[in-house]
Point group: C2
Chain length 170, copies 2
């Protein structure tokens, strides 16, 4: 005897929802993993950007800002990736779902704004220095800005997913 049609339809619906939630979880984990990679690269590049005399990142407020944001972004994405892997493997959640969705969305969104802000800030000063010729210092700065911009792109995508999750919760 086949099961009643309506029950099977509901089961299909729940299965589909689970599958979607699962792919959303993996998607946001992947995006945050890539953002972590770019943030960390950006932070390490800027922190080692010291080529003697005035060619030191500490001499420019724009570069200090970028360094600070890259550090915070590395810590944030690192913490999120750690939490998500922990939740996927153990199956129990650190926070209540609504709290987690809110933290995720606000975190992604604020970090994306900070990253685009700091990357934009550092462009003009690098640009002006490069007018007098490229050096190792300006090249490292340009690479750092690019990495911060990529980190922004992936966190902006991740914030769309976490915004969707938040409104599915409420």
């Amino acid at each position: 005897m086949s099961p009643p049609r309506s029950t099977s339809g509901i089961n299909d619906g729940i299965l589909q929802r689970w599958k979607r939630e699962d792919s959303l979880k993996r998607g946001s984990l992947g995006l945050r993993g890539v953002a972590l990679f770019f943030s960390l690269t950006s932070f390490l590049l800027m922190a080692s950007n010291n080529h003697g005399n005035w060619q030191h990142f500490d001499m420019f407020q724009e570069y200090r800002y970028l360094l600070a944001v890259a550090l915070v972004s590395s810590l944030y994405t690192g913490g999120q990736v750690y939490r998500q892997i922990h939740e996927l493997s153990s199956g129990n959640n650190l926070f209540r779902p609504t709290t987690a969705a809110l933290i995720d969305f606000l975190g992604d969104q604020v970090m994306a704004y900070l990253l685009i802000s700091s990357a934009s800030t550092s462009i003009p000063v690098t640009d002006r220095m490069r007018e007098h010729g490229d050096t190792l210092f300006t090249d490292s700065s340009a690479a750092t800005i690019t990495m911060a911009f990529f980190a922004f792109l992936f966190l902006a995508l991740s914030s769309i997913i976490s915004g969707y999750k938040l409104s599915a919760q409420t």
Copy 2:
């Protein structure tokens, strides 16, 4: 005779949903209206920021960028406010709801990123000039940056509403 309980419950649900959609519409219209005001002020302040000699916004790439973004933001928020008022008064929609939700969300989000980017870019150059004393030129620039930052804040809030609407559609 009172109506059946279940129908009344459904009616209440629909009524509540309508009320929520209505308050969301008014909320996003208000936020965009305020963003339009700040974008337009920012654009006009920067466009008239000419105090002779090198004290002209056109001499600085950061200020040209801010002017362009403020113009685009004024046009975007102006268009959105016009469309929303038209839809509220006539009752018929210019776009299909899903298309409108997508345009709203992408537009708000991209404009918010552009505004925070251009406001951040203009801060260091203004900061350096103010170290040598405040003039009308640096004061106007600082005011423009503040207006662009306020426009960013209200568009960022509006993008949360339009993100919620988009995921309610899909």
